[in-house]
Every structure is written in structure tokens, then in C-alpha cells.
């Protein structure tokens, strides 16, 4: 089986290299978070993206660390656009950084392919013909989590998220689908490390469940402290709160927890099998959803380059919109506001051998688009 996959990969590599013998050149600027508590996400997006384009000599990538600071992200974007003259920007993890960088970049005629952040402001009124989100609109996974909370019979949920655009989208998305009552609603500080105050409020709220969106280091801190607190109220969340990096640090406290994701390592399609095998081989760890998003972004870019030069902006945009690539999520297409229409799955944290990971248990939302399509006049 492994031999077969290997030969398939070699074959694909051969085909792609030959196809690019006279292909179009392109320069990518990747601004992502590579240090601090949010670095796990940026490192995964970068590794996924680089894995997708590693055999492609026509793509030149410049990678810079934004340290999760909007001002640094803006400086890096200016540098990349003005002195490096990149054609396409990508990589931003955090929605507040995306809001600071994306509008200015696309207005200067650059393409922006988002491998993660999908703030509602850029999906609705602020949508732009050169902005594409390859991951999801921010609300999506939380909407599915709201739906899952209904079907689990939760009636009184305590919800919390960081106080930044994606955190607000998260709670909005959850509330859009959740039919029960809210036992409490809290916005925490972005990058917060201590959750004792919030955990005390959860304990006092008599909630029957807790929904939390805390990506990266925030999720690790929360889950560890939640487990220490002795509260046994069940938790649900989006995949961001239970990704591969978080599970490794949190340990068995997360076992059995349900979370919602557009991707999972056990998704049964050819592109995903190749991705998971190759990622493990290259980096020696299991891929996360962030890595899959980076990988899909890379492959989307390659698919568009096959059809058109980036210098012909209209044709290139058309080629991206067609999304003619093999996604790790199986079927993939863009809605009219350039966000994916895709299935959102419910996953469960399980133990495979010694490693904690996620397994799909059901489909949460089928062919799910986003709530802002009508607000976008494009």
C-alpha cells in the first residue's frame, strides 16, 4: 500500500514538474505567526504550504514572522509589496492581523489567499475580487458546533472566545445555530494565559456544557486549567480548540471531546491520504487542520498558475475561482464571496496507540456556505 502511494506521489511530482517546464513564475509573500503562543498555527500553515509547492521551481516564497502583532504584519506587508514585489500574499492566522493587512494589499492589486483567518467583515461588505479564503469563513465551524450542541441535547451552554474579530464571529456563529439558553457569555483577552476567573464563573453558572473557541496556546492553557479545576461539565468547540498541537500538550483531559472541523486526518480521499502520509514523513508529526489549509492553499495556487500568468490578473482570478485542484477536503468550491462551500464534520478526540488525535463521527453541516454571501456585492 505504501509503495503504491509512494509511486503515485512520484508520478504526480513528475507530471507537475514537466507541466511547469515552461510555466509562469510567481512570487509569494507569506506573513504568518512563527513565535509565541500562536506559533503552532503559523508553523503548521507554513509547513503545509511548503509541502504542497516543494517540487515547484516557479514559485518563490518569502516567509516572515508577524509575532501575532498587527503593526508588524502591516510593516511586513508593505515591505513585501513595495520592495520584494510579491504577486500573492498569504499566511495570516489571526483575524485582527488580516483586517489590518488584507484590504490595503488587495486594493494595491495584489492577490490574497487566506489559509486561515476569515473575518466576517471581509466576507460581507468588505469582500474584494482579489481576496480568497481557502479555509472557511470564521463563523462556519462554530455554526456546526452550535448545531452539534443542539443534537447533543445541551440546553444551557456557557460560551467564551477571545475579544478580537474571529472571537466575535465565533460566538455569533455558535448562537446562530444554537437553540438553547446561554448560561454565560465571556470575551477573554487575545493571548490570555490564565483562565482562573473564567473557570470560576463557569463553575458558578450551573451550565450543562461549555463551548469555547481558544486557538493555539490559549486553548492549551484553558484546557489544562479546566482539567485542574475539577469541573466535569462537558466541553464542545471548534477544531481550533482541539487541534493536533493542543492535544499533544493537553493530554488525556481532552479524550472523548467532540469538536467540529472542515478537515480531519481520516477523511477518505486520495489527496488527503497523500497529504497525511507525506506530511508525517517530511515533518515527523501528525498534520493539523491548519497544515491542511496551508497545503490546499499551495495546491490552489499551483492550479491557477497552470492556467494563467499572475500578470494577467483577470484570467488568474478566474483560474483561482474555478478551484480546479484536489483538495484534502474532497470536493471544494468557492461561493460568490470567495469563501469555501464545504462539509463541516463532527470529530471526536480519540487515542490511536500512544497519540491523541481526532476521528470523524458524523457530518455536522453539509455543503455549508456562509451567512454573508448576500452582503457582498461583487
Amino acid at each position: 500500500m505504501f509503495k503504491l502511494i509512494k509511486s503515485v506521489i512520484v508520478l504526480i511530482a513528475l507530471v507537475t514538474t514537466s507541466a511547469f517546464a515552461d510555466g509562469h513564475k510567481l512570487k509569494v509573500g507569506m506573513i504568518t505567526t512563527l513565535s509565541g503562543g500562536g506559533s503552532g498555527l503559523g508553523i503548521d500553515v507554513r509547513d503545509g504550504f511548503m509541502l504542497a509547492i516543494r517540487n515547484n521551481d516557479n514559485i518563490e516564497v518569502i516567509i516572515e514572522d508577524d509575532q501575532r502583532k498587527p503593526d508588524i504584519a502591516v510593516q511586513l506587508a508593505d515591505k513585501m509589496i513595495q520592495s520584494e514585489k510579491v504577486d500573492v500574499l498569504t499566511g495570516i492566522i489571526w483575524s485582527n492581523l488580516a483586517m489590518a493587512v488584507v484590504p490595503a494589499a488587495v486594493n494595491q492589486g495584489k492577490f490574497y489567499l487566506s489559509p486561515n483567518a476569515g473575518p466576517s467583515a471581509l466576507a460581507g461588505k468588505g469582500c474584494h475580487k482579489n481576496y480568497f479564503n481557502v479555509a472557511w469563513q470564521n463563523d462556519n465551524l462554530h455554526e456546526a458546533a452550535g448545531g452539534h450542541a443542539n443534537s447533543s441535547g445541551f440546553k444551557n451552554t456557557f460560551i467564551l472566545a477571545p475579544n478580537y474579530p474571529a472571537g466575535k464571529d465565533a460566538l455569533t456563529g455558535f448562537k446562530r445555530y444554537f437553540k438553547g439558553e446561554l448560561a454565560g457569555e465571556i470575551y477573554t483577552k487575545l493571548g490570555q494565559k490564565d483562565y482562573s476567573v473564567e473557570i470560576a464563573q463557569i463553575r458558578a453558572s450551573n451550565a450543562d456544557s461549555v463551548f469555547f473557541f481558544l486557538p493555539g496556546g490559549m486553548g492549551i492553557g484553558f484546557m489544562k486549567q479546566y482539567a485542574q479545576s475539577g469541573i466535569d461539565t462537558p466541553v464542545v468547540g471548534p477544531a481550533f480548540s482541539f487541534d493536533q498541537g493542543i492535544l499533544k500538550a493537553v493530554g488525556t483531559a481532552a479524550l472523548g471531546v467532540k469538536n467540529t472541523s472542515q478537515w480531519s486526518k481520516d477523511l477518505d480521499n486520495n489527496a488527503n491520504k497523500i497529504f497525511v502520509t507525506e506530511f508525517k514523513k517530511e515533518f515527523g508529526r501528525l498534520p493539523s487542520l491548519y497544515a491542511s489549509q496551508g497545503y490546499d492553499t499551495g495546491n490552489l495556487l499551483i492550479s491557477a498558475m497552470k492556467k494563467s500568468s499572475v500578470k494577467d490578473a483577470d484570467a488568474f482570478r478566474q483560474a483561482i475561482r474555478a478551484a480546479n485542484f484536489e483538495s484534502t477536503r474532497g470536493s471544494f468550491k468557492f461561493s460568490s464571496n470567495h469563501h469555501p462551500i464545504q462539509d463541516i464534520y463532527v470529530r471526536e478526540v480519540v487515542k490511536e496507540g500512544e497519540v491523541l488525535t481526532n476521528k470523524i463521527v458524523s457530518i455536522g453541516l453539509k455543503d455549508h456556505s456562509n451567512a454573508y454571501v448576500d452582503q457582498c456585492s461583487m
Partner: protein, 307 residues
């Protein structure tokens, strides 16, 4: 809003306060006795946390990792004092700020170089994991109680050291008149090295204690350093008693503010607006407190003012 919730939040405030105390005790002594603004104090916090992480990974023992944080942070403190800080006592505050800021960059980059940019996570030992029923419906995390206990013991130790021992007399004397006590035959430079090492060790221990439930990463010390400066300004520079009281006040005001302000606003407006305005106001509270203290008592609670 229940009684249990208030008690638990108050305990959270104390836990935060005692952690701040460990950080600010050293800072206030160094500032008060030596007249040195040490921005690199946050780096000792980080060094403590990273050495705890390294030892915990190597030996698997939480207790050894705490010991390591004390030892490594104090060694780093002593080396820094002898090599660099010693030359700064007679300079003005701007030189001190610049030099110790350079130390922050130096330490952060070296730690990033050795350990990488990805945060490390430690495990709470079995004996301290889970929660304890205090009375009735009040439960509290054992580990956080342990932090309170360690903070309390070290506070008692410091009061004893400063108030009852010979060394304490020298420290207090040094605070008042540096030249006089060296004229009386006290080796002031040894005293300074000792104090600096002690301050660094306390900061390192705070880093290890907190790193165990949060995360160990480059730059973790600087946000705490800012709070520690707020504490020593409120408490009065150079005063351990002031640092102790101000730490607990800042810890409680910050913690209680984070849940009370949004709760009060919620009766005026809808929950999500109340939450976002409330958390913004709550994060300003301790600075407002500092401003008020500075207006009413410019030298802080127990400060004698800088000369």
C-alpha cells in the same frame, strides 16, 4: 452571583497577587536599595521557567524543576550583576534602562536560540492536581493553593530577613545611605550581588510556578514585569511591606474587575456589548488605581521618595 463565586474569585486574586509579589519583591529591593531600574527582571522570570522546563523534561520531577528555577535564575542574576549591572549604579536611569533593555533582547534571543520559538508546556504533579473542597460548595485548584502557600512562606521569610537579621539591617541601611554603610566597613558590593541574586531567584521561582499551569515561552516575563512595576510604584519603592500589600491589592482588583465590571454593565446593556466594554475597562483598572495612588500619595503606600 453567588457567595461561592466571590470567594473563588478572591482566591484567584490572592493567587495572582502572590505571584506578583514574588516578582516585585526583588524588583523593589533592587530599585530601592541600589537605585537601579532593572528591566531585565522579566528575563529572570523567563529563565526560571525555562530551566524548570528543561529539568522537568530531563528528570521528570516537579520539585527538582522548582529547585532548578531558583538555582539557575539566581546564577544568572549573580553573573549579570557582576559583569554588567555593577557598572551601572553610578549612571543615570536612562543608561540603566538602555542597558537592561539590551539584556532583555539578549536573553530572549539566546533562549529562543536554545529552546526554539514554540512554547513549552509542563505538567502539574499528581499530588497537586485536581481541586480541593475548602468549605461547603467552595472548591479550589490545589495547585493554585500551593502557589498562595509558597508566596506566603516566602513573604514571611523576606520579612524576617529584612526585619530581624543582620543582613536586613545592612539592606535597610543601604537604602538610606549607601556611602555611610560602606564607610562602616560593610562590603556593599557583596551585599548588592547577594540582593540581585535573591531578587532573580524569586522571579525565577515565580516563572516556574506560573509556567507550570500556563506556558513557558520567550517573552513571557515582560507583561508580568509591567505589572510588577505598577505594584512597586503603588507600594512605594524599596518597601517589601508595600510590595506585599500592593501585590495583593493589584491581584484582587484585576481579578475582581475582570468579572465584576462586565457583570455590572450587563444590567445596563446586552451581554456582548457589556462583555467587550467591560473587559476593556477591567484591563485599565489597575492603571487607574495606580494613577489615583500617585495623585493621593506620590511616593506610594510605604515609599520614602527617590532622592
Amino acid at each position: 452571583m453567588t457567595f461561592e463565586l466571590c470567594v473563588e474569585q478572591l482566591l484567584n486574586g490572592f493567587q495572582f497577587g502572590f505571584m506578583l509579589f514574588l516578582m516585585s519583591a526583588g524588583l523593589t529591593l533592587i530599585f530601592g536599595v541600589m537605585g537601579l531600574i532593572n528591566l531585565a527582571h522579566g528575563s529572570f522570570y523567563m529563565i526560571g521557567a525555562f530551566s524548570a522546563a528543561a529539568v522537568s523534561a530531563a528528570l521528570g520531577s516537579f520539585w527538582f524543576s522548582l529547585l532548578a528555577s531558583l538555582i539557575f535564575a539566581s546564577i544568572a542574576g549573580v553573573i549579570v550583576e557582576i559583569v554588567i549591572i555593577r557598572r551601572l549604579y553610578d549612571r543615570d536611569h536612562l543608561d540603566q534602562v538602555l542597558a537592561t533593555f539590551a539584556l532583555i533582547l539578549l536573553f530572549s534571543e539566546s533562549v529562543r536560540w536554545i529552546f526554539g520559538a514554540y512554547p513549552l508546556y509542563l505538567d502539574v504533579p499528581d499530588i497537586l492536581s485536581g481541586s480541593l473542597q475548602i468549605i461547603g460548595g467552595i472548591y479550589y485548584s490545589k495547585y493554585r493553593l500551593f502557589i498562595i502557600l509558597v508566596g506566603l512562606l516566602l513573604a514571611i521569610f523576606l520579612f524576617f530577613l529584612i526585619g530581624k537579621t543582620n543582613l536586613g539591617v545592612q539592606i535597610r541601611a543601604g537604602q538610606h545611605d549607601r556611602e555611610m554603610i560602606s564607610a562602616l566597613g560593610v562590603d556593599i558590593s557583596k551585599l548588592y550581588t547577594f540582593l540581585f541574586g535573591l531578587g532573580a531567584a524569586l522571579a525565577g521561582l515565580a516563572g516556574a510556578l506560573v509556567g507550570t499551569i500556563q506556558s513557558v515561552e520567550v517573552g513571557m516575563g515582560e507583561p508580568v514585569l509591567i505589572l510588577a512595576f505598577v505594584v512597586i510604584v503603588i507600594g512605594g519603592i524599596g518597601s517589601i511591606k508595600g510590595a506585599f500589600m500592593a501585590s495583593l491589592i493589584v491581584g484582587c482588583v484585576d481579578t475582581m474587575g475582570r468579572f465584576l465590571v462586565p457583570w455590572i454593565l450587563m444590567s445596563l446593556t446586552d451581554p456582548s456589548t457589556a462583555m467587550s466594554i467591560g473587559s476593556a475597562i477591567a484591563s485599565m483598572l489597575i492603571y487607574v488605581l495606580m494613577a489615583i495612588v500617585l495623585i493621593v500619595k506620590p511616593t506610594g503606600f510605604f515609599g520614602k521618595g527617590l532622592t
